[in-house]
């Protein structure tokens, strides 16, 4: 059973969603402005680092090393957290994680929980599971709060409400928070969120967070944030529950020195994010006196089993690949139909849910490679995209039966594989093409092809096959 929870729509069809997004000019303006801003900021703080490439390499190697020993490090982490007074739970899928968290909240008699922004809990649809049990989850990150109040889905890993501008947010706050009049200045909007949430921070007894990093050797959990809502949730309640994907481990304390440099510069384009909290189990007299760590699989071991796809688990959720992607910049995040949009989402989502449930996502890319260049842990996203495209085709052939085998594309590919399979058939095909293309060539190019092949020339010209091939020239060279 593969986890479907990460999908926002079943079988997302990027090619169907994208045109609607592209036709929304307000969305394109909001997205273009936001991604250009953040790209410039990132570039400036990355360029000032003399050892950026060495840090990226170390980041990748630490993640490779961790995954290779993942079972060992998970057991180390479990022991360290327990030693420090915390409890550790294991959840093989979303349903198990949601049941654990719901049970813990109920055991403490809470009807409300405050939440730190967490993609992992979005992925398992925790808020919906809590609501079913009569528990309301209050999102405390400004953008998450905006999304929650609007009843929408996130469109960006870091800035979930990136698709909304200040005027839209002002209108939303006036409608949902009972504020009579407020300006659309971001300062005023942030102040409104501060006063709305302060009472919750001071009174709600249970908080739920994710985690950016978990140190196996010491049991330390690290949350990186900006607004202070994270510090509030991690410090004030009596009970803290952190849901952490098994790929968030790093082996040693020292490894934090790499990721605490890579993440903020790649993510918000800052030298350091405003607040980073690190805690280990329970500290008497300071912060929550009950700490529960929930270790989540939910498809991650499927990803781990694929030797090419495995590198997807290096991701530290910085969102630099979204901000640089020419496709994401134009369509926004909703077109991907997944909790994880953009280039990383296009490779992570199909692996988590199975390619048969997200066939179009590996094609939501021009393979330009900009995402690989900016990735702070050197995930070769184009390589995985191509690998996933191969999986899509293979899966279609395996399950499509005779109809799939007789599709023109499948037949053409079979024919091509025969043609390329031997020198004699290849050269014969070249001679046939030199003769057959005659009526189609104008000034050395072909602008129109008949039938199914017309799909190619509808958008682009094709160079004609030259009258002398390289092989012919080579043979005649010494003759």
């Amino acid at each position: 059973m593969k986890p479907q929870s990460v999908l926002i729509e079943l079988q997302p069809k990027f090619e169907r969603n994208a045109p609607a997004a592209l036709a929304n000019t307000q969305l394109r303006r909001n997205m273009g402005k936001a991604t250009q801003t953040i790209r410039a900021k990132r570039a400036a703080v990355v360029d000032e680092m003399p050892d950026w490439e060495q840090l990226r390499t170390a980041g990748r190697q630490i993640k490779e090393h961790t995954l290779y020993h993942l079972d060992t490090y998970l057991l180390q982490l479990e022991a360290a957290v327990q030693r420090a007074g915390g409890h550790v739970h294991w959840a093989a899928d979303a349903a198990a994680a949601n049941a654990i968290v719901t049970g813990l909240v109920q055991a403490h008699g809470a009807r409300e929980v405050i939440k730190v922004k967490s993609l992992t809990t979005d992925e398992i649809k925790l808020n919906a599971a809590l609501a079913e049990a009569g528990i309301s989850a209050i999102e405390t990150d400004l953008a998450e709060l905006i999304i929650q109040l609007a009843g929408e889905h996130s469109s960006h890993i870091l800035v979930p409400a990136i698709h909304k501008n200040r005027a839209e947010i002002r209108e939303l706050f006036m409608r949902t928070l009972g504020i009579a009049e407020i300006s659309d200045e971001p300062t005023a909007l942030a102040a409104a969120a501060r006063s709305y949430l302060r009472a919750k921070f001071l009174s709600v007894p249970v908080a739920i967070s994710g985690g950016n990093f978990a140190v196996a050797a010491t049991g330390a959990i690290c949350v990186v944030e900006s607004e202070g809502n994270g510090r509030m949730c991690l410090t004030l309640p009596e009970v803290l529950i952190s849901v952490v994907g098994i790929e968030k481990l790093v082996p040693t304390w020292q490894d934090l020195e790499v990721f605490l440099q890579l993440l903020p510069r790649s993510s918000t384009g800052e030298r350091m994010n405003p607040y980073t909290s690190i805690w280990t189990g329970v500290t008497p007299g300071d912060g929550p006196q009950a700490f529960h760590l929930v270790l989540l699989d939910n498809g991650r071991t499927n990803v781990l089993a694929d030797e090419i796809g495995r590198q997807t688990l290096h991701c530290i959720r910085c969102s630099a690949c979204l901000n640089i992607c020419p496709v994401y910049e134009r369509t926004g995040g909703h077109a991907y139909g997944s909790v994880y949009p953009g280039p990383i989402g296009a490779i992570l989502t199909p692996q988590l849910v199975g390619v048969e449930h997200a066939r179009s996502l590996p094609y939501a890319s021009s393979l330009c490679g900009a995402c690989y260049d900016v990735c702070p842990v050197q995930i070769n996203i184009p390589e995985v995209l191509i690998h996933m495209r191969g999986e899509v085709v293979r899966q279609h052939q395996d399950t499509g039966g005779l109809a799939a085998a007789l599709e023109p594309e499948a037949l053409a590919m079979q024919l091509l594989s025969q043609v390329f399979g031997s020198q004699a058939t290849y050269e014969m095909a070249q001679r046939l093409a030199q003769l057959g293309q005659g009526p189609l060539v104008r000034d050395g190019t072909i602008s129109w092809l008949p039938g199914l092949l017309g799909g190619w020339t509808a958008m682009r010209d094709l160079s004609a096959v030259p009258q002398q091939t390289f092989r012919q020239w080579w043979r005649e060279r010494d003759a």
Partner: protein, 214 residues
């Protein structure tokens, strides 16, 4: 859940090593070719620290040690901060007579802290390259809630506490990794609206740093 633990560990081992008898892979190694320390002189680090803290829109001043009480009094007076939360072990001579100091022995409620005009603490470390202050909630820092709930945080940093780069700070913290840690880089902020940075959300909206020179 107990059975989920076994399931996950088994899945991981199968995913990594394949079926029994599959050829062993080479364990990836880690080369740390990045900078782990900086030879930068202390005076340059001080200048860089002050410059970068200020870039986060925090207030920052450099003062001599004997001017510390005066600087604290001036900062609190300018802020009109009369009710101040302080850690239990804060030196008496840091506190101006005009101020009511609530010394936190752990007895102050969140409402008490929320009702303060500000908080005064020391710190554990500063990082020059990133303009970061690190609290390990040890001497002169108090528990985490203390420096979180008041809207104004006045923080005293000694020049000798400033290191150059992130790896130097992580190395110094390595002996006490089970303490809670808070890294602070400027006042609380958000970029959630049109990716415009706005200073001041839930954490202290004003951060004021006094750097005491050697």
């Amino acid at each position: 859940m107990r059975e989920d633990r076994d399931i996950m560990l088994k899945r991981i081992r199968t995913a990594l090593h394949g079926p029994p008898g599959a050829p062993a892979q080479v364990a990836p190694s880690i080369a740390r070719a990045y900078q782990v320390s900086t030879p930068t002189p202390a005076a340059v680090l001080l200048h860089q620290f002050v410059e970068r803290v200020a870039e986060y829109k925090a207030e920052v001043q450099t003062i001599a040690e004997n001017a510390l009480p005066t600087a604290i009094a001036a900062a609190l007076a300018a802020r009109k901060a009369l009710r101040l939360a302080v850690p239990a072990d804060l030196p008496n001579d840091w506190l101006p007579p005009a101020v009511t100091a609530l010394r936190d022995q752990g007895q102050l409620t969140y409402q008490d802290l929320d009702g303060c005009d500000g908080v005064l603490t020391g710190c554990a470390l500063g990082i020059a390259q990133t303009g970061t202050i690190i609290l390990d909630h040890g001497p002169r820092q108090g528990r985490r809630a203390l420096s979180l709930l008041p809207d104004y945080h006045l923080c005293v940093v000694w020049q000798s506490q400033i290191v150059g780069i992130v790896p130097e700070a992580i190395a110094q913290l390595a002996t006490a990794t089970t303490r809670p840690l808070t890294f602070i880089s400027g006042p609380s902020a958000t970029s959630d609206i049109e990716l415009n940075r706005v200073e001041g959300v839930h954490g202290p909206r004003t951060l004021h740093v006094l750097v005491v020179t050697a």
